[in-house]
């Protein structure tokens, strides 16, 4: 992992949901760091806990069912989990911003997009708040229009007066990005930013995020299930399975030589990797399905679906820890190269 300055450090984070069916340990002992100016990707299939980690960072986990049980989240030297709500509000939308998967449901349908972006600006304005509110409002509106221009929306002066339902999915996502970057955050959390979009729109949105990152020097925590997006856009990657990180490395290293059987399985599942053998006309798969807690399988959570693990006694009974196998490379597997 790069030795650049660390912006966010998640240490031993655990979060659980308390439901009628029992305690669901959504995140267990997760640790990783995001460096300044870099993109860190958390990749995994649905239910692995990646969105819960994002919500934990911003302390948006739904209470009382959800609770951060243990761990620390250190941002710019402060443990976010120890802050009072008032202090946390200074950080949310301001220093750490988030964009979500479904822009239509994240935007308020009864306010114009201009108003929504301006709201974020007004709340976090560092300027003198004793100014006449109308003047501050006018300034915020102009800033909002400029932000729409920055994210590539044509005719921003006109578009700012429109409501979310009048915009396409790609434009709504860009409005969310505009809101998110309005206060020049140090960290942008992007939770499945392109999943609900067409492939061409998604590609263009990711290009936009790259562009903004270069301009602002912000770090991006990219959460996705799409390995290909990670390969193209992330600097560092952590692969999650059933609430834990199973492999973590620099992006290039990971894709050049994945160690964990789950990572390797996922890469093999991609249709394009089967193209080299078209005659077979069958895709590689990972048998079974992601375990739904409670309870998780004993030992290594992946063992029932693993070619090696399903026959190995140690894999079935003892849970492997995430350990460093090479400088900057971490794997949680008994059979990883040492």
């Amino acid at each position: 992992m790069n030795r650049d300055e660390i912006l966010l450090s998640v240490q031993d984070l655990s979060a659980s949901f308390f439901t009628e069916d029992g305690v669901i340990r959504a995140v267990q002992n997760v640790s990783f760091s995001v460096s300044k100016g870099r993109t860190f990707a958390l990749v995994g299939e649905s239910g692995c806990g990646k969105s819960t980690i994002a919500l934990s960072i911003l302390r948006l986990v739904q209470q009382p069912q959800g609770k951060i049980v243990s761990g620390e989240i250190v941002f710019e030297g402060q443990n976010l989990l120890r802050l009072r709500e008032k202090q946390m509000r200074q950080i949310r939308g301001n220093k750490i911003a988030m964009i979500f998967a479904e822009p239509m449901t994240s935007l308020n349908p009864v306010y114009t997009v201009g108003d929504q972006i301006a709201e974020a600006i007004k709340i976090h304005q560092k300027k003198n708040t004793n100014q006449a509110s109308r003047k501050a409002g006018a300034q915020a509106w102009e800033d909002a229009v400029e932000l729409l221009r920055t994210v590539g929306i044509a005719n921003p002066e006109q578009r700012a007066h429109e409501y979310p339902h009048q915009l396409s999915g790609g434009m709504q996502q860009r409005v969310m990005i505009a809101m998110a970057i309005s206060c020049e955050p140090k960290l942008l959390i992007a939770d499945e930013p392109t999943t609900a979009l067409d492939v061409t729109t998604g590609a263009a949105i990711l290009d936009l995020l790259d562009e903004l990152q270069k301009q602002n020097g912000m770090s991006i925590l990219l959460i996705t299930h799409d390995l290909a997006v990670v390969a193209e856009r992330a600097d560092d990657v952590a692969v999650m399975y059933a609430s834990q990180i199973v492999e973590m490395a620099d992006s290039q290293q990971l894709f050049a030589a994945p160690f964990h059987p789950y990572t390797r399985g996922l890469l093999r599942c991609l249709p394009r990797s089967s193209i080299s053998n078209p005659r077979s006309r069958r895709l590689q798969t990972i048998p079974g399905a992601v375990p739904q807690p409670p309870p998780f399988p004993s030992g290594c959570k992946f063992h029932p679906r693993c070619r090696i693990g399903c026959n190995d006694n140690r894999c079935q009974t003892v849970e492997p820890e995430l350990r460093q196998v090479q400088p900057g490379r971490y794997v949680a597997c008994w059979h990883a190269p040492a």
Binding site: T201, L266, C269
Partner: protein, 335 residues
């Protein structure tokens, strides 16, 4: 040679009227499907590819008359579908079935699995009792589920399992043609490959013909024999799958291919980078966003096209076969 095509679609058009004003006069039309033609041979798979809003789902619905077509012909197994009477249509609908994208929305949450899969058998074949239960159990096994799931409700299954239930239901009446509308868009990658393998196996076992509708070009390359790319209600390029991917001609096809994220970027990808998607131009490509009531002249892709020239705005290009590549058609003034 027309006999060997199980499904033939000929210049299909489906327009939805835009009604305006106090008297709800028809002011114009949303041209969801604007002249689509293709044919599928029995036992093969046609991949219909396009992004959201291009009209591909409307094509599927028009074929089985869930939505009234405005013009054109649909011939299924020598029978004219669009002009068939009610009785004939009922017969036809036993032979064509659908698999839907919205897995949760397409399974009635208040019906058990056995009721869901058994419904078509009860309605169309009048099956009851033990015969019905046996058939349902067989179908469940075909899709990789077990008969002890028979009395459970959809919410008790995972996404991948629900899609399997949908597939079992689609197979119940032993159809000849299965229209699969984005069957794997809503599931995880590892489940997607399981479902696709299942669909392939079922195709071989039951000699099924597929119309596979999707936005995912990577999946289609693997799954389909023949591919048609749709944009704004029209087919802009079509051809054998391998040929289309090796040699994409239409700028929209190239834009789509260059937008797919890839783990390992190969040289081929670099050759199509002349058509990278540009953010400001992506707007307005959905049919329902068409504000004009008058049909615009020229190629619908013109405003977004990196190769656009003057005559692209004057007349709509028609699909033409490219001489040296048999079966590969493209609608573009460049060729």
């Amino acid at each position: 040679m027309r006999n060997e095509y199980l499904l033939q679609v000929d210049n299909l058009k489906t327009y939805f009227p835009i009604k305006k004003g106090l008297l709800r006069r028809t002011a114009g039309f949303v041209r969801a499907v604007d002249g689509i033609s293709f044919a599928i041979r029995a036992g093969q798979t046609l991949g219909l590819v396009g992004e959201s809003g291009c009209g591909k789902t409307t094509v599927a619905r028009s074929i089985i008359r869930l939505v009234p077509a405005t013009a054109g012909r649909v011939i299924f197994d020598q029978t004219d579908v669009l002009s068939a009477d009610r009785a004939k249509l009922r017969q036809l609908r036993k032979q064509i079935s659908l698999i839907f994208q919205d897995i949760s929305g397409s399974l009635n949450p208040r019906m058990t699995v056995s009721s869901i899969i058994g419904e078509p058998l009860k309605v169309h074949k009048g099956m009851t009792g033990r015969q019905l239960n046996e058939r349902v159990a067989t179908l469940l096994c075909e899709v990789g589920l077990t008969p002890d799931h028979i009395n459970r409700y959809p919410h008790q299954f995972s996404g991948g399992q629900r899609q399997r239930i949908g597939i079992a239901r689609a197979l119940a009446l032993q159809p000849k043609l299965v229209i699969a509308d984005e069957p794997t868009s809503a599931v995880d990658v590892s489940i997607q490959s399981q479902i696709l393998n299942l669909l392939k196996d079922l195709q071989e076992k039951f000699a099924l013909t597929y119309l596979f509708i999707t936005h995912d070009l990577a999946v289609v390359e693997f799954f389909a024999d023949y591919v048609a790319v749709m944009y704004m209600g029209r087919i802009v390029e079509q051809g054998p799958a391998a040929e289309l991917y090796r040699n994409p001609l239409h700028p929209y096809t190239r834009t789509l291919l260059s937008a797919i994220p890839q783990v390992y970027i190969d040289d081929f990808r670099l050759t199509i980078d002349d058509c990278k998607p540009v953010l400001s131009e992506v707007e307005g490509s959905k049919i329902e966003n068409q504000k004009s009531e008058i049909k615009p002249a020229g190629c619908t892709f013109g405003p977004r096209c990196p190769w656009r020239q003057n005559n692209c705005f004057k007349q709509m290009p028609q699909l033409q076969q490219i001489c040296n590549h048999k079966g590969h058609f493209v609608a573009c003034w460049k060729y």
